[in-house]
Symmetry: C2
Subunit: 215 residues, 2 copies
């Protein structure tokens, strides 16, 4: 039922008995179908329509509960932060603050201990299981890196944009690991503002090729 | 015997019988004592002398097998790459190539699949166990971050130097994770030279405060 996805999530407790299906059950039924399809077919090859079919519900019902595939995925693996939303929001702000805004948004989201622990657990899982790494990668490529590349890179050099996006991601992932995982001082206790001021230019450098707004 | 350190290393197979101790046994005896002390007292509070005492061997013998505490530690947890050595070597090269040289050395070391897998396993362990994270942190602070800070920072602002060192480390750790763990393209397949050219300036920015040699 939960198949290999079980490493990502706690097994769903099936309700027993013959009660008629309620809203909560339908939603959970959809999530369960999503978990199974994502974990066997991957992110890209799973459509919301296929999830509806698998869950034996009307496709409109899937869209009623989940706006987009990314939402369905995020909830199915209970991802504690939404990199796709953080990136989308940062892209709407001023370009010169793009790096600082991204860093601040990520660090603020991880002020919450539970969020942090869940995220570190997710990274640990992805490091230990090839299929978990693949799934996470597909999600990040489709919803984060490609979106960044399309928004920022030259149309004729999307691959360069994608390399830039993965490099920016590497800085942010490493920041999360060293600050919250290894907890190396003084980085672990440094103010978010100070970190943003130091790492913002790096993200800008990776994404746009220049470190300072005024160079 | 192996205590909590067991999560780091495969348990040592004890030889049975009454054979007289051989060189290999003594060395293993020292490593076993080191593992126990590191895992209970931490990196800083463990001296080579204490390891000798614990292993019931002459301190000179510990120095015969291991030059420094960092070597003893690295072997006791079977660390596949030596960040302390990589940093030491990079510091001996030209400052303007410091970032590029660090990135290249790390990526080259991880071309070896076994090295890579061991390192990813170590990171995974550190993410899951507080004491493992602590041990790794103490080692990195003492042998990598502090050394970098002392070599590069103003004497009167070692803390700034240490923050810089942890930020540089965060970029490198993230690079390892995204390239080898998540394996996000195009970063996963990019040439080492190209990555060094893009990430080198970031390391220089973190460590020295300027991205380009000629700015």
């Amino acid at each position: 039922m939960v198949s290999r996805m079980a490493v990502f999530v706690k097994p769903v407790v099936k309700r027993r008995g013959r009660r008629p299906a309620k809203a909560g059950d339908t939603r959970e039924q959809i999530l369960e179908a999503a978990r199974e399809l994502f974990s066997t077919k991957g992110y890209d090859a799973t459509s919301m329509r296929a999830v509806a079919l698998k869950a034996a519900v009307d496709p409109a019902l899937v869209h009623h509960y989940f706006d987009e595939k990314s939402d369905l995925f995020a909830e199915s693996i209970r991802v504690p932060v939404r990199p796709d939303r953080i990136v989308k929001q940062a892209l709407e702000g001023p370009r010169d603050r793009l790096g600082e805004n991204l860093v601040e948004a990520v660090l603020l989201a991880l002020e919450n201990e539970r969020t942090r622990e869940t995220l570190l657990g997710l990274i640990r899982t992805a490091l230990g299981h090839d299929f978990a790494a693949t799934l996470l990668r597909q999600f990040l490529v489709a919803e984060v890196f490609h979106r960044l590349a399309v928004a920022l890179a030259d149309e004729d050099d999307i691959e360069d944009g994608e390399l830039r996006a993965t490099l920016a991601a590497s800085q942010i992932v490493g920041l999360i690991l060293v600050r919250f995982g290894v907890r190396a001082e003084p980085l672990a206790s440094a103010d978010i503002e100070e970190i943003a001021a130091r790492v913002g230019p790096v993200i800008r450098w990776h994404l746009l090729g220049y470190p300072q707004p005024d160079i």
